[in-house]
């Protein structure tokens, strides 16, 4: 099943690689992945949709939380959340269909971002499933090219972010101390 994960991670070199590497290493299929900076430029927000068996969902979150650059990994699949995606469709259409295409786009809340004699470029945002329907509908009017952004999600209930406090150096010697005790 599809699992939507929201990650808050430090914007550090290699952080993206750690996340994608972990997913492929553990055999989880990535459906989509989006990432951008947050209000705090030192952090990034990532929305990942993975295809995993339901009993593995917790394991994915736990493995994500083990990454040192990840501040918080949240499973949004069951909690109240809004999931949205952007799709850009370029459609070549005949003169006769132009009006019908515009009507359909309107139904899906689409916006024409380019228009030419050949056809249109249309953007639509919405629920990923709705977008799939939109793409199907457009496909029935002519040849289309599609770019999807991948899902973006936000939780509707804020989850408290627990950050770890600084520790003094030489903390690594903890084991040594306990050994000598």
């Amino acid at each position: 099943m599809l699992q939507v994960i929201s990650l808050l991670l430090e914007n550090k070199p290699g952080a993206l690689m750690r996340v994608t590497g972990l997913l492929s290493q553990r055999g989880y299929n990535i459906e989509s992945l989006t990432v951008a900076r947050t209000l705090d430029p030192s952090l990034s927000r990532m929305t990942i949709v993975v295809d995993v068996e339901s009993h593995q969902r917790q394991q994915v979150i736990k493995q994500m939380n083990k990454l040192i650059n990840v501040l918080q990994a949240t499973d949004l699949s069951d909690s109240p959340a809004v999931v949205r995606e952007l799709v850009l469709v370029r459609i070549r259409t005949s003169q006769e269909s132009r009006t019908a295409v515009l009507k359909e786009a309107e139904i899906f809340g689409g916006r024409v971002v380019d228009s030419s004699t050949e056809g249109f470029a249309i953007e639509v945002t919405g629920d990923p499933e709705k977008l799939s329907e939109f793409i199907d509908v457009m496909g029935s009017y002519g040849e289309i090219d599609v770019t999807r952004s991948g899902a973006l999600a936000i939780a509707l209930e804020s989850k408290k972010l627990k950050l770890q406090p600084p520790v003094p150096t030489k903390a690594g010697a903890r084991l040594e101390e306990t050994l000598s005790n």
Binding site: G14, Q63, I68, K162, Q164, T169, K170, G172, L175, L179
Partner: protein, 575 residues
């Protein structure tokens, strides 16, 4: 207060602050500035003969001391050669820090000489890794690396440092604190779950402690012992947990799993409660997971939340350090005693009785021969000399399993083997690290004739450093464990497993300036081992054993652990 110094000097300064007294490495072009400052420093650098062995030696050091082991390699091939050791440390949760050189930052990405994407390559091989391109970040990162390696569930951390960082000059200011806001370590355990665990343990009729490497990593053996003695629960310890409870302890049953004992596997299969402490329900222990410990409720204590429920869903999950949690369970049991009914007491007596019967019914096979040295005989003799006190390192394969079955470990951190990754060529370099850390200890490095031939270069390291390691080659002329599988599961078609050429041990050791000997008669065994141990320097003892012996019991891959094959199905013909 800050001092102007080079990056190389800063690195050394940080290592000294972390208490590093010994490291294992191999220099090269981009690490030259570091080796230049190391020249006049008190940190001892052991020059290995191959970088993979630097990582294995650092592991050996870490495994016997509990301190962070340090290894070092140059860019490109030096770094790529480290990777097996890094994964090995990852699989067994061993704290090591690997330092690698990288080409100058301006050349990164240009396919420069000896350039490799070490940062990318080692991402899945490490708990965390760093690429340092700015001098001012170096001290902070080095201390972070040591902290991450040693804390929580330990593991390897790699720091890749560009040559310009080594060479640059900067103001060094000692780092006093580390801030990793996303690095979560859970040590204490959930109070409610601890109480539940304490109650379940007291109500259990057939409890079994299943203790693993986590107990050793956390130095929690005294706590484990107190718990076991309080509950009087029988205890099995995994391959990684051998020594967590002394082998001679009356509650110690033995090792479970694919080549575990009949009693341990039967106990797991019949227990009504598993108290799993610092273990990860590895496939080599559980066999077919669905049939593993089918009657048992499970209390699982581990510091890594991702291990809880990964393979077996526990009834009582406790995320925490066994060293902190086990005493809390003990305390909770003492504070809330559950009076044992007569029925329960009788049940527990019957449980112990049953386990003793299993032990007596099928102890480990220890065949002896008049004409040949049986591999089990070799291990029994090593055990006799060790008396549960020597450090024993091993590779992977038949010799490892026989050693684990038949050699006693009465303390933690004596048994050093490649458990999770199963790396051949681990034992000898690990012994280098172990002996460097514990010059006072008798160290046996047991290897097969296959793994030993991967380690021969390190005879140079052993000789140069005068390390009195006793290398015991269990030589059956085959890649024994692979051969065993071919015999049992591939119609004895022995494809590419015969090692028909092995160097003359006396000449080989002699070429490196120490003593060596080959024996193949059972009556030579005891005296040859004693000669090896009494030799003040290193010793290479090549022991030719029965070629076709198989390790039993054996749970065939995918089988349930109570479906063990206890001995050979029929006499195996020597081809």
């Amino acid at each position: 207060m800050s001092t102007l110094m080079s990056g190389a000097k800063m690195l050394l300064e940080c290592l000294a602050r972390e208490g590093v007294d010994c490291m294992f490495g191999y220099p090269g072009g981009v690490t030259l500035p570091f080796y230049d400052v190391l020249y006049e420093h008190h940190i001892r650098h052991v020059l290995v003969r191959h970088e993979e062995n630097a990582a294995f030696a650092a592991e050996g050091y870490a495994r016997v001391t509990g301190k962070v082991g340090v290894c070092c390699a140059t860019s490109g091939p030096g770094a790529t050669n480290l990777t097996t050791g890094l994964v090995d440390a990852m699989m067994d949760s061993i704290p090591i820090v690997a330092l690698t050189g990288q080409v100058p930052s301006k050349l990164i990405g240009s396919d420069a000489f000896q350039e490799a994407d070490t940062f990318g390559i080692t991402r899945p091989c490490t708990k965390h890794n760093y690429l340092v391109k700015k001098l001012e970040e170096l001290p902070q990162i080095i201390h972070e690396a040591f902290y991450v390696a040693a804390s929580g569930r330990p593991g390897p951390v790699l720091v890749d440092i560009t040559k310009d960082v080594f060479q640059g000059q900067g103001h060094y200011q000692p780092v006093t604190s580390i801030h990793l806001p996303g690095y979560k370590v859970f040590t204490e355990g959930h109070t409610g779950q601890i109480k539940r665990a304490a109650q379940m343990i007291q109500e259990s009729e057939r409890p079994l402690v299943y203790s693993g490497g986590g107990i050793i990593l956390s130095n929690a053996s005294p706590e484990l012992r107190e718990f076991v003695e309080l509950t009087d629960a029988p205890t099995v310890t995994t391959l990684m947990g051998l020594g967590s409870l002394p082998s001679e302890h009356p509650n110690f049953i033995s090792m479970p799993g694919m080549h575990g004992s009949y009693a341990a596997n039967m106990a797991l299969s019949n227990a009504d409660l598993l108290i799993a402490l610092g273990v990860r329900f590895d496939d080599r222990v559980t066999g077919r997971l669905a049939a593993f410990a089918p009657h048992a409720k499970v209390i699982h204590v581990d510091i890594d939340p991702a291990e809880i429920g990964k393979n077996r869903a526990p009834d009582v999950p406790i995320v925490g350090d066994v060293k902190r949690v086990v005493p809390k369970i003990v305390k909770a049991m003492k504070e809330n005693p559950v009076p044992a009914s007569e029925k329960l007491k009788a049940g527990r007596r019957a449980w112990w009785h049953q386990i003793r019967e299993w032990k007596a019914e099928h102890p480990y096979n220890t065949p002896r021969s008049e004409s040949e040295i049986k591999p089990q005989h070799l291990m029994a003799e090593i055990d006799r000399i060790s008396g549960g006190q020597a450090i024993v390192t091993s590779d992977v394969g038949q010799h490892q399993m026989w050693a684990a079955q038949l050699i006693r470990f009465n303390e933690p951190r004596l048994w050093v083997n490649s458990g999770g990754l199963g790396s051949m060529g681990f034992g000898v370099p690990a012994a280098v690290g172990a002996q460097m850390a514990r010059p006072d200890k008798l160290v046996f490095a047991i290897a097969g004739d296959g793994g030993f031939q991967m380690s021969i270069p390190e005879l140079g390291t052993i000789a140069s450093n005068g390390l009195p390691i006793k290398i015991i080659v269990m030589n059956n002329g085959y890649l024994g464990m692979v051969r065993q599988w071919q015999t049992l599961f591939y119609n004895n078609r022995l494809s590419s497993v015969e090692l028909d050429c092995f160097p003359d041990a006396e000449k080989l050791a002699g070429a490196y300036g120490f003593k060596g000997r080959t024996i193949d008669k059972p009556w030579e065994l005891a005296s040859a081992l004693e000669e090896a141990v009494n030799e003040p320097g290193p010793y290479l003892l090549n022991v030719k054993v029965t070629p076709m012996e198989c390790v039993y019991p054996m749970v065939p891959a995918g089988g349930a652990i109570n479906e063990m094959v206890l001995g050979p199905p029929q006499p195996v013909a020597v081809p």
